[in-house]
Symmetry: C2
Amino acid sequence: MPGVTSIDVARASGVSRTTVSYVLNGTPGVTISEGTRRRVLEAAERLGYAPSAAARALRRGRTDLVLCVLPNWPIGPLLDLMLDHLATALADRGLSVLVHHGRGPRPLSELWRAVTPRAVVGFAAFAPEEERAMRQAGIQVVSTMVEPDNPRAFAADQAAIGRVQVEHLVARGHRTIGYASVVDPRLVDFALPRLAGARAACADAGLPDLVAADVELSVLSAADAVARWRASGVTAVAAYNDEVALAVLAGARTHGLRCPDDLAVIGVDDLPLAALADPALTTVGQPIGPQAHYLAAAVLATLDGDSEPPPHPAEGLGVIVRAST
Amino acid sequence: MPGVTSIDVARASGVSRTTVSYVLNGTPGVTISEGTRRRVLEAAERLGYAPSAAARALRRGRTDLVLCVLPNWPIGPLLDLMLDHLATALADRGLSVLVHHGRGPRPLSELWRAVTPRAVVGFAAFAPEEERAMRQAGIQVVSTMVEPDNPRAFAADQAAIGRVQVEHLVARGHRTIGYASVVDPRLVDFALPRLAGARAACADAGLPDLVAADVELSVLSAADAVARWRASGVTAVAAYNDEVALAVLAGARTHGLRCPDDLAVIGVDDLPLAALADPALTTVGQPIGPQAHYLAAAVLATLDGDSEPPPHPAEGLGVIVRAST
DNA sequence: CTGAAAGCGCTTACAG
DNA sequence: CTGAAAGCGCTTACAG
């Protein structure tokens, strides 16, 4: 029976729809006699009644959904953990988390209009008109991207990651440093600030500018880049992330170079596979637990209408030193 | 202005709500004079009118959403591609894809009741009562898991993967074969059939049963397993996937073994990193494009009420031979 | 070609 | 403590 409504429950328990609603919602401020309450509950159970989400949304003017809009870039375990935390934190408020993989040809507006969520959490920046439109529709908007004017950004400062990499290599005595850039254009929001941070660290250390080269996830591409670095006197490479770093390792191997003696390499992310490489990869780890907690706190604060975002966690980036540097 | 309704558009363009609805929905079977149509469109545009999803859902009895329920296991690039394809295919029908990461403490029913999607696509099996409840609510249910009685399953036959691995190793002359199992319990639906397929291939080839060992993504765990395999005379290992295979490679390294001479290793997935390992990893590739297309076709068939699912694509599993075997 | 009216299923002042 | 009624915003027979 695809159509059990509150009116059926009312009839079955001999009360009005009003009372059914009061009982089922536990409406504060009304007291229902124990007998009535039991009869209603029992009838609802027996009939398999579930309130119509559409009707409730229409009446209340809002849903209990939070929509997370993912960007185009590949979703990693980090993001997974973020979403887990968020779902758990929001469940306590009776909210459910829904995810949209920012792909497909439909405009985003189509989506949030169809869902009319309480809040939209963006893992990439929204177009300004888009954001305005959502706000106009009464939807809270939380943007998590690191931007100059976004105090609610959850992500670690990307530039700091590049800095930490270079500082580690400098501490190891390297003076001519290469940078292995990622090619995927979807990652540009991460790639640019990381590279800029690495550059700045070189400048601060009084070193010549680093030698940047694009590296695809193939032996050939990496071997090319390694050849260029060798020609420039590079002795250490900071890579965009662990995957790119592993490619650099493979490229160095084809040239018969030993790591770290001939070429030191440092990645980012601390993937499980980083420790399994030969040599085991030195990398920069991000404090993902704190970031996940912060995201959840920031979203809750937004929902509560707090003007102040919660305090941002300390960066806490750490170099995990292994055999490759 | 968070409350522009069709009544505002009607007033602004001097017509009734009926006409506004007809124009905006392009209702088939009604003809609207060009002047009226233009005035309505213009007014809607100017006022920034967007119909209330809740009201429309209440009236029509259904939404234009399709909910994909992901299982607990880590989402990989394969799943990403699946979702992309699906979103594109469904967009042509005016449907939007929403994803639920099967985590968090809220019961699934909470979710689909709140969304009331046209269809739910499950990437893991649903509990029977859950599935029944969804069907009762008028929601189409598509389960993609490979099950004996599920002709709509999209995933490749997992047992076939294990078979192909072992057959490759046997063709290379190996007679005593090890299997590197994954530990993560969330992957059990994949792990068990793969192992069973590998076992069956051994039996078919008249070989002794394979030597299975759990391998975590750590050098220590892998080294342990390698020691046991060596003690059993194992000369080749089929791994649950590429990550596990890379761990085995690392474990072999700590024992000073050479691959493939002392120990051959074959993975599954053809991750980009597989080609970057030392030695480059032989692996089993899955035909992901066809699978993605099949999933989309199966969902569309379900929505159309077809009793027959579309023809299943050929398996097309292929061994990508590299240096590790 | 266009409009007045009913009704989707719920919640919540308001009255008793 | 409980009920009759209004109204959320839309779509769609029905009538003109």
